[in-house]
Amino acid sequence: MARVRKGLVAVSLCALAATACAKTDEPGAAQSPGQQQGPVKIGISLPLTGDFSEPGKGIQEGYQVWADRVNAKGGLLGRKVELIFRDDASDPNRVSSDYESLITQDKVNLVFGPFSSRLVIPAAKVAESYDMVFVEPAGAAAEVFEQGFTRLFYAAPAVAGDHYNYLADYLTKLPADQRPKTAAYASLDDPFAQGTAYGLRDKLTAAGIKTVVDEVYPPETTDFSPIAAKIAAAKPDLVVGGTQFEDSVGLVRALQELKVQPKLAAFSTGPTLAEFPGAVKGAAEHILSPVGWSATASFTGNQEMVKRYKELFGGEANEDAANGYTVGQIIEAAVTAVKCVDPVKECQDKLAGHIRQSTFDTVVGPLSFDDKGRPEQAHMIQQYVDGKVEIVLPEQARTADLVYPKREW
């Protein structure tokens, strides 16, 4: 027994001496030449289950469409792209754990961002501390950009608080007798969803439109009747939902049941998804929504993405998929420009530097970033008109006129 133990101790001591401090993933550690060969591995953690699985899936599809296209035309710098997905179950601890293992164990060349502002911050912390560039499709909340990240970029036209800017402009410029007087806000307890609704609220309040209901509900809420009852009692001219998908459907259904008929209704995210009109059974007519992407736009690669999406997944592409695809486009352009794709500081520094200085042609339009990684463009406003999604704001992108007041649902 004693001899066995001695042996073990000896073995472990040898191992200790041989490997002490020699972590292969020491930041700045030289990469072995073998690393240059093989596919370009891209690590991604997404909420494929849990509260955010719906948009998580959209983004996953966007990434896949992008990888499919890149591989079809020969890959990144001549190497195939391989996406490695992990499920974080909408859990911030998992998201860190995922990126930690993707970067240090799988030794991925690049990482793409996860979904939801809640998960972006812990994920970006990991990426930042391993010097990885972190382009993300869904962390639009103001807090994301206040953490001092230097390698984080948000691949969409605008941050959460600015999503409704065009609508706020439109409403505040209406003649006084047509302007809504009161507004009700209901928002999911989530930094992004709340950010959108509160961005609009702050601008409308400043313009003298009174807030009559201001509700926040936790993510697990499935019964929206009581919130609708509060809104019904206040009879607002304007109903704004800071929503994701399922709660936007729940809210619209509950508002219908309680016969709330506002002059204008706007919901974030939900109405931009293809399932929305079916889920609310015809009540979609004239609902407004900020949208960073349009299926009909002629931006670089957009039509190709829409087509390829249909081939791969059979349905219509949505904004989440487009945001995922945009991340791919930005990275693709940056990698092609700086001609390296290694998970080492010099290369990732070059990538980050390039992204910070350049403007990228993407499916959501030309994108550029400020020094905190915030995009500097704006969201369009879409509306269901005669059952079709039309862009109604701003003027230059308009495909139909904004209908106000809306039809009863």
């Binding site: 494929l48 289950t49 998580g56 499935t222 019964d223 049941e257 016969k259």
Partner: protein, 293 residues
């Protein structure tokens, strides 16, 4: 303000009816086996998903799933009791059964997530967005249907418990297992059937849930806390107590929802739970045995 409160009250009563159905199964399990079945909500959502499958594949009314799910769940319930719960050592049955059923809940959640993916599913019928208006109070049709289905199922359950021979044996088992055995009640088999009946109520409850709310595999967690609070407030093991506590908490929740917010409304369940434990540990209707478990 008054109309808002009335609205909250009406919604609360309707939701409370559903809570009563969902909690009745839990009370049954506890009655026959002194077991807290944490997996009950997971089975509810299993039933909801099956309903969804039947509805989307065959395009039929969700309630037509019941002839399939109710017998299936009855059999599942008997199997869970005979094959799993009955194998546990009696000296720490209460604790171990919680862990066992917790494991079952995780298993179901994982399977649902694998088969149906993690995204939300919902069954929405034509009547889902219409409502009945009575004096300024709007009663959504889907909630009314949920309420009546729950009430009907509970009525059938009570009738079975009170009138039938099986019901008598079941109640005897609940009241005094050993005495029941002495007078010739096959308590093991009865306990199995009791579980079957409990899970059959989950089949009905799941269909109703599918009708009124979107769901995803992890939805059951929210319901564990709520339903547990209801059966403790009602008195562990008392089906009637659970039903009354369900209506009470449904109303409290509805009123708090329309006057304060969702966080406080959910909090009310736990506030009542702790109050019940401090003031009356056996619950509103629990017998002397309840506080020992």
């Amino acid at each position: 303000m008054v109309s808002l409160l009335l609205q909250g009250l009406a919604l609360g009563v309707l939701t409370g009816g559903l809570y009563a159905l969902l909690a009745s199964g839990l009370s049954l399990y506890f009655g026959v086996m002194r077991v807290v079945m944490v997996a009950h909500p997971a089975f509810l959502f299993l039933a909801a998903y099956l309903t969804y499958t039947v509805h989307t594949t065959f395009g039929v009314d969700p309630f037509l799933a019941l002839p399939v799910t109710v017998p299936l769940f009855f059999a599942l319930g008997v199997a869970v009791q005979r094959l799993l719960i009955a194998r546990l050592a009696p000296e720490n049955l209460a604790m171990m059964s919680v862990l066992l059923t917790f494991g079952i809940a995780l298993t179901i959640e994982g399977l649902l997530g694998t088969v149906y993916t993690g995204s939300y599913k919902s069954v929405s019928m034509e009547y889902a967005t219409r409502s009945l208006s009575v004096g300024g109070v709007h009663l959504p049709y889907d909630k009314i249907i949920a309420f009546w289905v729950a009430a009907l199922t509970l009525a059938v359950l009570f009738a079975v418990l009170v009138k039938s021979r099986f019901g008598q044996a079941l109640r005897a088992t609940i009241q005094h297992r050993e005495a029941a055995r002495l007078v010739g009640v096959p308590t093991e088999r009865v306990a199995g059937y009791g579980f079957g009946v409990g899970l059959a109520t989950a089949a009905v409850g799941g269909t109703v849930l599918a009708l009124i709310t979107p769901f995803f595999p992890a939805s059951h967690w929210v319901w564990i806390g709520k339903l547990m609070a209801i059966i403790v407030v009602g008195g562990l093991g008392s089906v009637v107590g659970a039903a009354l506590a369900a209506i009470l908490l449904g109303v409290v929740e509805g009123l708090v929802l329309v006057t304060v917010d969702a966080t406080w409304a959910t909090m009310m369940f736990y506030v009542f739970l702790f109050l019940a434990l401090l003031v009356r540990p056996q619950g509103l209707f629990g017998g002397r045995l309840a506080h020992r478990f």
